[in-house]
Symmetry: C2
Subunit: 254 residues, 2 copies
Amino acid sequence: MAIIAVFNQKGGVGKTTTALNLLAAIAQRGERPLAIDLDPQGHLSHVFGARPRHAEETVCGFFLHQTPLDDIAQITRSGVVLCPAHLDLAKLDALLGKSLNVVLRLRQGLRRPGAAPGTVVIDCCALLNVLSLNAIFACDLMLIPVSCDYLALASAREVERALNALEPVLKRRLPRRYVLTRYDARRKMSEDIIVQMAEVLRPEEICGTRIRENVKLAESPAVELDVFRHAPGSKGALDYTALLDELLPVLGGA
Amino acid sequence: MAIIAVFNQKGGVGKTTTALNLLAAIAQRGERPLAIDLDPQGHLSHVFGARPRHAEETVCGFFLHQTPLDDIAQITRSGVVLCPAHLDLAKLDALLGKSLNVVLRLRQGLRRPGAAPGTVVIDCCALLNVLSLNAIFACDLMLIPVSCDYLALASAREVERALNALEPVLKRRLPRRYVLTRYDARRKMSEDIIVQMAEVLRPEEICGTRIRENVKLAESPAVELDVFRHAPGSKGALDYTALLDELLPVLGGA
Ligand SMILES: Nc1ncnc2c1ncn2[C@@H]1O[C@H](COP(=O)(O)OP(=O)(O)OP(=O)(O)O)[C@@H](O)[C@H]1O
Ligand SMILES: Nc1ncnc2c1ncn2[C@@H]1O[C@H](COP(=O)(O)OP(=O)(O)OP(=O)(O)O)[C@@H](O)[C@H]1O
Ligand SMILES: [Mg+2]
Ligand SMILES: [Mg+2]
């Protein structure tokens, strides 16, 4: 089992786009990956066509009522298995707090005996809240999308600082990869962001793969598809395949 | 006094870019507008060069300790007066809850007797939390940036639904304007978004002004400037001036 948490405190940097298309790239290889949507806004769930009516049928039920993840999981038309989100997830911080026992819940749920093997991808919201902490403590690898702009880079530095602050609790340096998204080679700013990233992050933790700006990636949610089914052969499809290929060895140990 | 709340539940749609450059457009006209940063991540405050060390010196102090907004306000080099944010704002939902008396606090603070006249612009985070509710209840006009993509459009529809649900409490239809951001006329998707917006929103509530994709808008935060000082005459500067001109009559009554 290899668990990837997709997280960055900045909004709109491509977390959901990355989770969606990484899951689709895995499914393209014949696997049935598990998607966990931890964003109360449920964008990932929405793109998969999920419209859960009751919070108990979603990840909310897992956190509040110990509903097994297997009972929440639903098959989607792309072959991805999804544990959908619900707006009520927004209440979890107030209801549960952030004690160690609460932030370890997802880890315990995913690593229970008899859990299906395979890859898990967790989409987070743009906040370091109890849900995102659950993703961080559950994962084998953190994938931090960084859109090609200064505000996203600043947030990536804050993620790095937050992870380092959590090290005593995590008891190790959590494996992480920073991936540039919305990369536009024609913009001088893109090169500036690349240079700055290499200065403030460990070079080996920056993905060689950059996800280029590609309108197909922005269009696919409108038709509730991932980019492979909406626009096979597009730059978006090629880049997310390349990203999966780059991450597989990193996950190999997990 | 005219109070504008900049809000959309979707991340990265240009809320902060819009708040920053609308404030700068107003300052360009010789006024000293008031900026209120209600995003715990404090991006607007950061671009203004504010680095508040203690939560009490920020908007946090206003909400938790009744510190007057005048004591929190600081002059920035662009002439804008700023009430900065702090990470501790993230705790306010748990600490204060969302009762009517809590969500009216900012309104009361801004409209106190003897408050300076002039325009106020409030930057919100991508969540309908107690801070954003304060902005909604305080404002004369809600400005909802919608980046030219389907996920932002879906979130704009949710904002519309949320505002309509709040109408009984607000006791009126809150004046609002939806403004397209990151508009790229070369993309077919942009036209599609425009068509869909006109179908799901009231046409008179959609701004004629569209903020075009302009790298100057993305660059200016890196040098802690607004677009007028970073790139006067750029498309970004022209578009935010045009947006201000379009909104002035709407605020005129306030
Ligand atoms: N490489 C890309 N090319 C073109 N558009 C992209 C690309 N990556 C993301 N987008 C678009 O940018 C917008 C923001 O992306 P996305 O919703 O994935 O970000 P996010 O980090 O999940 O946002 P949030 O913080 O709201 O969860 C979406 O409309 C998406 O389609
Ligand atoms: N019209 C534009 N042209 C070019 N870049 C833009 C434009 N509008 C916004 N951006 C860039 O897009 C990114 C997201 O914008 P911004 O931070 O203003 O969104 P936001 O809605 O405030 O995000 P958050 O939800 O994180 O608060 C920023 O890097 C910004 O510089
Ligand atoms: Mg998302
Ligand atoms: Mg912002």
